[in-house]
């Protein structure tokens, strides 16, 4: 194999990152809560900081050449301020407590947010929060107390992700230093396929299983009303019998005949698309739709099936199965 400079660079970067990560794991181990201290804060002069050092040198040269004591004192003051600024930058992060949500869910190409809670006893300024290769969240000032910060995470591909380490950085107080930390909360993101709308009749699809003869007029929502039963927590509001509720008979929910008799299986193979990813996306759409309508359904992905059920947890299980497919 030929070793081109770019390849060499990539290789070096890879090695470096690997070593760096290994070192980070030892230095800042996984935890659900971190308190920032000299153990996990890094601090280096920023580009402006280095330019500022050159400026100090320039002042020193000028003072020496002109034998001007006041410019000399000025340059020493700037040098000393550089150190004060370093400490100040460190203190801006030091002592901050950071907690993160362990799991988030969402579809591809949508903005998902981790909720990071920062607790502090002093105000912290100019914080940037960011997961690797993810957009930054800028907080001008984090007040005393606990504040919840939403840090965005996006993915174009479905699946389970570890967003990696959360980077909290700040250029406070003069931009001379970058102070940062990289915290590992071992959190994960479950990214569902995005929703692709199926044109045509949903019923035609869903009815396949039960009765191939059913006409196309048999649409969802036209189901026959079967009975009222007492409302149980978690049932969709669309099924609440508001008329009865208004009459003061309590919260009842309507049950439809069709739901009892008809079993609906959402099958991956039934999806009207060629590519399996598109099929998953369509399935994702159907799962959301069915859940919103409060219908019971099961999912058949071929290698596994999820039994027919309703409710938010069921929806999540189904979507997670899609993400894992």
């Amino acid at each position: 194999m030929q070793l081109t400079p770019t390849k060499l660079k990539q290789q070096l970067e890879k090695t470096f990152n690997y070593k760096m990560n290994a070192w980070l794991v030892r230095r800042i181990p996984v935890s659900s809560e971190h308190q920032l201290s000299s153990q996990n804060i890094f601090i280096l002069p920023s580009r402006f900081g280095i330019a500022f050092l050159l400026f100090i040198l320039l002042l020193f040269l000028m003072a020496t050449n002109y034998q001007n004591n006041l410019i000399m004192l000025f340059s020493y003051l700037m040098a000393s301020l550089f150190i004060t600024a370093m400490l100040k930058s460190f203190f801006n992060l030091s002592g901050l407590k950071v907690k993160a949500q362990s799991e988030i869910y969402g579809h591809t190409d949508t903005d998902l947010f981790y909720t990071i809670s920062l607790s502090s006893q002093t105000p912290r300024y100019a914080l940037n929060l960011q997961f690797d290769q993810q957009p930054k969240t800028y907080i001008p000032c984090c007040e005393v107390g606990t504040s919840k910060i939403k840090v965005s995470f996006q993915s174009a591909l479905r699946g389970r992700y570890k967003p990696g380490r959360l980077r909290i950085s700040s250029a406070y107080c003069f931009g001379l230093f970058t102070t940062w930390t990289r915290l590992d909360f071992n959190c994960q993101a479950i990214i569902y396929p995005k929703q692709t709308i199926i044109t045509g009749h949903l019923a035609a699809l869903s009815a396949i299983e039960e009765s191939p003869q059913v006409t196309s007029s048999d649409q969802p929502g036209m189901d026959e009303f079967y009975q009222l039963k007492s409302y149980s927590q978690g049932e969709p509001l669309s099924r609440v019998a508001w008329k009865q509720f208004a009459k003061g008979q309590g919260k009842m929910s309507k049950e439809y005949q069709q739901q009892q008799g008809e079993l609906r299986w959402l099958k991956l193979t039934d999806m009207p698309a060629n590519h399996v990813e598109i099929k998953l996306q369509q399935l994702s759409y159907l799962i959301i739709e069915y859940s919103n309508m409060g219908k019971a359904f099961g999912v058949d992905l071929g290698y596994c099936t999820i039994a027919i059920n309703t409710g938010a947890i069921h929806k999540q299980t189904c979507l997670t199965a899609l993400a894992d497919y």
Binding site: L58, Y66, Q67, F74, I83, F91, T122, Y125, A126
Partner: protein
């Protein structure tokens, strides 16, 4: 995307105006005009009256400015041209703040201008102004990173940080080895102050209006009396017919075999006054000393000062910052007992026909008296006996005619008398020359030093007498004896005040005791500043450090710096921690903890796991209702801590809590602690 919020933009503009103001005295009018235009433009942009500046317009403005600087470059001098360029780019940068990088550049340029301002002025007052400007600059930078914090907090914060940085800076300043200049740099050319190279009769009177400080003198040991304090600055041996000046040709020094870098060194003897002179920047080369001066050569900074064959001192370079040197003046030593023929020729020469009547008078005197002393006596007697008048507002002389002054107007200031006298002596065949310098000086009892102001400028005459050498003759003494004995007479001071165009000057209020004391105190502080900060030299450093730490070596220097660095960092860390503890608690938490501490004294301890209300109930039951104040305290506390109360309500509740604490203290006096602790704690 980088953008400055409006309130920060105004703050940035303010810092810019302050920075420019620091150097505005050194900038030419047309550059100030360009700067004002760009600042006004910026104002309109911030106020949303104009769209953002187009790049080509900024470039156009920049090119115009550069062109004007280039055209005037020769006149400005290199250093001033560079300052002009710096200020121009700083002013234009404000129109181009498009990225964070631009903003950083802008801040550094501003700081650079602040530092550069010290090339031109170093007084204490000016340094304080620069310090304020630096504080504002850093507050602006801080504001960018804490955008919602009020200005005054950021100004306070940046002041605090600069103050925290000061100790280490001072240690570095005192300890860090002072290096020789690495290369030659263009010197500052600023408006010159003080005596000029040549003197026409009316000149010194103009200077007398200025209350600016010329130099300060610190005597070690004996202090000469007022009439002895003639500070020689310039000796002028050539009369052009209109004014006096130094002769230019090099022959004299060649003849005396004095090479350029070698100082003329007269042989001195007898008693001497020892003193240190701290000269203010005059942007001229000459310096001041009493006759006959001898520089003390152990002083390294003196190496740049030479003595001329006319016994005056001169610096190699223009004096652009305060300079101090040690001198001994051997006041009984005669100057040039054997007169060099070239000098004799020069000091007898005058343009024939420039003042015909005086020439005639000279001839007459030469005929009438055989002895030069008698001639001098006669002329001085004429000044004192006839109606000669000593004034700061003399009538104008046509063509600077000495004839007119001597025979008709008869009113003038020191330069008139010295000019006429010197001319007359030459006409009478006595070698004579004009000397300008300063006379007297004001004593500052606080600082134990003398201040010599521009208004003390004086001109007198020197004649050469056989066997005695050069003798100082001050014709002013004949006209206004008071002037040379104690300074300006009352009428002269009144004249001076009426001519003075400085709006605020503490010296004009000498008669008010309080103000005068204040003025002297301030002057002393400025003196110490000039002596120790502006004038801190490698010699002073060596002396100071040797007296503290013994012989200085580089490892000692390094050790001192390292120790102070560690110490300062520790202090900062400590301060930060201290501040955090103070910052930490909400007032109600503090109050509640006070309450708990009070109970703890009586063996009532709260476990962390116990809820606030539960504990208060527990205390209530256990104390048989003797401590209702604690219950109220807990109730208010839990409302503050766990419910969102409005600010007014919060204030009210905190007040209540304070009252409960006071009540609790009294109630606890009636409460008898039960010794069994386990029973009481939860």
């Amino acid at each position: 995307m980088f953008s400055l919020p409006n309130h920060l933009a105004w703050f940035v503009l303010l810092s810019q105006i302050i920075n420019i103001a620091l150097v505005s005295a050194e900038l030419s009018i047309w550059l100030l005009a360009v700067i004002v235009i760009s600042l006004l433009w910026r104002v309109l942009i911030i106020a949303n009256k104009l769209p953002k500046a187009r790049r080509f317009m900024v470039i156009l403005l920049a090119i115009t400015g550069c062109a004007i600087i280039a055209i005037n470059g020769r006149q400005l001098g290199l250093l001033s041209a560079m300052l002009h360029l710096l200020s121009l780019s700083y002013a234009l940068k404000t129109l181009e703040l498009n990225s964070r990088k631009d903003f950083y550049q802008f801040i550094v340029l501003g700081l650079f201008i602040c530092a550069g301002a010290f090339l031109f002025q170093q007084s204490l007052g000016f340094s304080v102004m620069v310090a304020l400007a630096v504080i504002i600059n850093f507050a602006v930078l801080l504001q960018y990173f804490s955008i919602n914090t009020p200005y005054h907090i950021n100004v306070k914060q940046s002041t605090k940080m600069l103050l925290q940085s000061l100790p280490l800076a001072i240690v570095l300043f005192v300890v860090f080895p002072r290096l020789e200049p690495f290369w030659q740099v263009p010197m500052a050319k600023s408006a010159t102050t003080g005596l000029s190279d040549n003197v026409a009769p009316g000149d010194i009177a103009n200077l007398a209006k200025s209350n600016e400080l010329a130099f300060r003198v610190n005597f070690i040991g004996d202090i000469p009396a007022y009439p002895q304090r003639y500070w020689r600055a310039l000796v002028m041996d050539e009369y052009t017919g209109k004014q006096w000046q130094r002769s230019r040709d090099k022959k004299l020094s060649d003849w005396l075999d004095i090479r350029n870098n070698q100082s003329f060194s007269p042989t001195v003897s007898g008693p001497a006054f020892d003193y240190q002179v701290i000269a203010e920047p005059s942007f001229k080369r000459w310096l001041f000393a009493l006759d006959v001066a001898k520089l003390s050569h152990e002083n390294r900074s003196v190496s740049s000062i030479n003595m001329r064959p006319d016994y005056s001192l001169q610096n190699k370079n223009i004096i652009s910052k305060a300079i101090s040197y040690d001198v001994s003046s051997f006041y009984t030593t005669a100057m040039d007992v054997n007169l060099n023929p070239l000098i004799r020729h020069r000091t007898l020469n005058y343009p024939k026909g420039s003042n015909p009547k005086l020439e005639q008078e000279g001839q007459r005197l030469k005929q009438a008296f055989k002895n030069p002393q008698a001639i001098i006596k006669n002329v001085l007697a004429r000044f004192s006996e006839q109606a000669y008048y000593y004034t700061l507002k003399p009538p104008l002389l046509q063509n600077n005619s000495l004839d007119q002054f001597y025979f008709s107007t008869k009113a003038g200031f020191c330069a008139h008398y010295a000019s006429a006298f010197t001319f007359l002596m030459r006409a009478a065949g006595i070698p004579a020359r004009m000397v300008t310098g300063y006379m007297g000086g004001e004593y500052n009892p606080d600082g134990n030093y003398f201040s010599i102001y521009q208004s003390d400028a004086h001109a007198w005459s020197e004649v050469w007498l056989e066997g005695k050498g050069w003798q100082r003759i001050d014709p002013t003494a004949a006209v206004d004896p008071l002037r040379v004995e104690q300074g300006f007479s009352e009428s002269l001071s009144a004249e001076q005040n009426s001519l003075n165009n400085e709006y605020f000057n503490l010296r004009s209020y000498k008669s008010f005791q309080l103000l005068n004391t204040l003025r002297l105190k301030l002057a002393t502080i400025d003196y110490q500043w000039t002596l120790w900060v502006v004038g801190y030299s490698s010699k002073k450093q060596f002396d100071l450090l040797s007296s503290w730490f013994g012989r200085m070596t580089s490892w000692k220097t390094g050790l001192i710096m390292a120790i102070s660095l560690i110490f300062v960092m520790f202090m900062l860390w400590y301060l930060q921690r201290h501040q955090r503890v103070k910052h930490k608690q909400k007032p109600w938490l503090n109050l509640y903890q006070q309450g708990l501490a009070l109970l703890a004294k009586h063996n009532l301890h709260k476990n962390k796991s116990v809820a606030v209300i539960a504990f208060s109930d527990h205390v209530f039951t256990i104390s048989d209702g003797v401590l209702p104040a604690f219950r109220a305290l807990s109730r208010d506390f839990s409302e503050l801590e766990y419910r969102q109360a409005s600010p007014q309500r919060q204030k009210q509740l905190v007040l209540n809590m304070q009252q409960h604490i006071a009540l609790l203290k009294t109630q606890l006096r009636h409460y008898k602690a039960v010794p069994n602790q386990t029973d009481r704690s939860v």
